[in-house]
């Protein structure tokens, strides 16, 4: 929640208290659900929650509240596995929700329950560079040049960083097979001076602390940085090939059935697929699935050739091969030179 100046906060508190008073007599209590999400969705869900609450009150009546929790995707999934009562999860990659399903908290076929593999919006990985692109970074090949510093979080802890890594790998694979891709990934990591634990941390390292020449970022995070910084501080560079990042959403069966919030939780996620919901996604720089909305915001999203996670056999395989202990990431990470 944003900090409001004191008088404003007091006024809001007073208004809130007054609004609550008449409710006390009525039987209909306010229903809360908790959405456990990853780092860069803060702005998206702030807007979306307000819109959905209005929609729900109009359609069904009754007062609802949506609480948010943000953090690294893996850490968030772990909290849910360990017992955090999330009614819905909206995470960075399917692997993290699979892990929750493996712990028995939701059905294993969760991804088939909603349209588009339960991913209402997509994103991709782009480069964020400093004003005027002083190092002339145009494509993935420029990232391994001497003297170019690349900022990306640690793929072991950050969902976004896994997409970054796979995007880079997919490009190199396209250029010349597995051996070339391995060598490229190794060279790329040599140019990474800091491995932050989460996507937001890496963004701050690049934008606020001024470290590095290029940030590998979620497209939405990159556009948001530009929107929030002084005009002309940063530029987005779109590489020749990137990856289609599909952040999935799911209802946590065990929690909604116990709390009796299934109807609300399902309606909440469904609303993401409606034209209104899709519009809010697009306004927050997530690529909408719905054709009509996609066309409307076409100018906002650069055309880019996209690889998909299917190229790596889905998330379970990709996780095992690249990011598990002893996987490719561990193998190529060796002290500089």
């Amino acid at each position: 929640m944003e900090r409001l100046p004191n008088p404003a906060r007091r006024a809001m508190l007073a208004a809130g208290t007054m609004a609550l008073l008449p409710l006390r007599g009525r039987a209909a209590a306010r229903v809360d659900i908790l959405n456990v999400s990853y780092d860069p969705t803060r702005e998206l869900y702030k807007k979306f929650n307000a819109a959905f609450a209005r929609h729900w009150t109009d359609q069904e009546g009754g007062d609802i509240g949506i609480r948010m929790s943000h953090g690294g995707s893996g850490a968030q999934a772990r909290s849910v596995i360990d017992g955090l009562n999330a009614d819905v999860v909206t995470l960075a990659l399917a692997y993290d929700i699979d892990a929750i399903a493996a712990a028995g908290r939701l059905a294993r076929d969760w991804q088939a329950r909603m349209p588009d593999g339960s991913t209402p919006y997509t994103s991709t990985i782009v480069f964020l560079v400093r004003k005027g692109n002083p190092k002339q970074i145009k494509d993935w090949s420029d990232l391994t040049r001497r003297g170019v510093q690349v900022i990306t979080p640690n793929p072991k802890t950050s969902g976004g960083a896994r997409w970054n890594f796979l995007a880079a790998y997919a490009w190199a694979l396209n250029e010349g097979g597995d051996a070339k891709a391995l060598a490229y990934a190794r060279d790329l990591l040599k140019n990474v001076p800091v491995l932050d634990t989460g996507a937001r941390g890496a963004t701050i390292t690049f934008t606020e602390r001024g470290i590095g020449d290029v940030l590998l970022a979620w497209e939405n995070e990159a556009f948001l940085s530009i929107a929030e910084a002084k005009p002309g501080t940063f530029e987005v560079v779109v590489p020749s090939l990137s990856i289609l990042a599909e952040p999935p959403v799911a209802v946590v069966d065990q929690v909604v059935d116990r709390r009796g919030t299934r109807k609300l939780a399902e309606a909440y996620l469904q609303y993401l697929y409606t034209p209104d919901g899709q519009e809010i996604c697009a306004q927050n720089f997530y690529r909408p699935r719905l054709q009509s909305v996609a066309q409307k915001y076409q100018h906002q999203f650069p055309m880019v050739k996209l690889s998909t996670i299917e190229q790596f056999g889905g998330w379970t395989q990709a996780q095992q091969r690249f990011f598990a202990d002893g996987g490719i990431f561990d193998q190529i990470y060796r002290p500089g030179g």
Binding site: T157, V194, L195, F323
Partner: protein, 282 residues
């Protein structure tokens, strides 16, 4: 000594009423806050089996992290000990304007959230920071290298040394120094043979506490370390990374090993302290 005191005090009447309730409370408190969580961790580790324990602890990345953690914590505790001794000396032995203010500054690292310390140090020592930009032309990089970890841990560990040495230094009788001087010892000899031995136990205590704190420190380090595997990744971070990969067995294995190492180190230093007390006579 502490053990001897508690044994001789066993069931003797004391100022505090009721040995029974207070002893019971002590046991309960220690169990709930300290022993049970540690026991749970060790049990989880044992549940994972030897194979996975060895696999988690002996993989190159974990070994490198142990090396980084131990060497940085040790190095920074040594620096903190030297600098802390000097600061304590200045604060006790000299009178100057602003002394009390400086005395209060020493405690700041205790109170400051460690993440704040880490971020502040990082922006100072980053290649484009105030100090970092001066060091960069000399080819010295502090932030995002193990050197940065040492800086952060020295910051965190300093007050432990100062606060351990200060009271002892205050108690030290001036007459001893005068006697030493009268017997013809030079200033250096007086320091080395008279003052330093008296301070050593306190200095060791400070060093130990700084070291113990450094081994477990997470908040300030992750900001300045760069967190690169094999180079500047500390064990506490590796534990968090393991947890984020849902690898509970690996995380608890690292935690248990860390516990063991810390315990052995502290034990060794305590023994050393006792031995020195006996040698120099308390």
């Amino acid at each position: 000594m502490a053990v001897a005191a508690s044994l001789s005090g066993w069931r003797k009447p004391s100022v505090l009423p009721g040995f029974g309730p207070s002893f019971g409370l002590t046991i309960t408190y220690l169990s709930l806050i300290v022993l049970l969580p540690l026991a749970a961790m060790v049990l989880t580790t044992i549940g994972g089996g030897w194979q996975s324990f060895l696999h988690a602890v002996l993989q190159p990345r974990a070994l490198a992290a142990f090396r980084v953690t131990l060497s940085c914590a040790g190095g920074s505790a040594a620096i903190a000990a030297a600098a802390g001794l000097l600061i304590a000396w200045v604060l006790v032995r000299h009178r100057f304007p602003g002394r009390r203010l400086m005395d209060a500054f020493v405690d700041l690292p205790f109170a400051l959230p460690t993440a704040v310390a880490g971020i502040a140090l990082t922006s100072l020592y980053a290649p484009n920071g105030w100090i970092g930009s001066l060091l960069a032309p000399l080819g010295i990089r502090v932030a995002f290298t193990p050197l940065g970890i040492v800086v952060a841990l020295t910051f965190i560990g300093l007050p432990f040394v100062v606060r351990a040495v200060q009271p002892v230094l205050q108690e030290l009788e001036h007459e001893q120094e005068e006697a030493s001087h009268m017997l013809g010892a030079s200033g250096w000899q007086t320091f080395r043979r008279v003052i330093f031995p008296a301070l050593t136990p306190a200095l060791l205590t400070g060093f130990t506490m700084a070291l113990a704190r450094g081994l477990g420190e997470y908040g300030s380090v992750i900001f300045i370390a760069g967190n690169k595997p094999m180079i500047s990744e500390i064990v506490p971070l590796l534990i968090v990374i393991d947890l984020d990969q849902f690898n509970y067995a690996g995380a608890t294995a690292l935690g248990t090993t860390m516990l063991l190492i810390s315990f052995l180190l502290l034990l060794a230093i305590n023994r050393l302290q006792d031995w020195m007390r006996v040698r120099h006579g308390d």
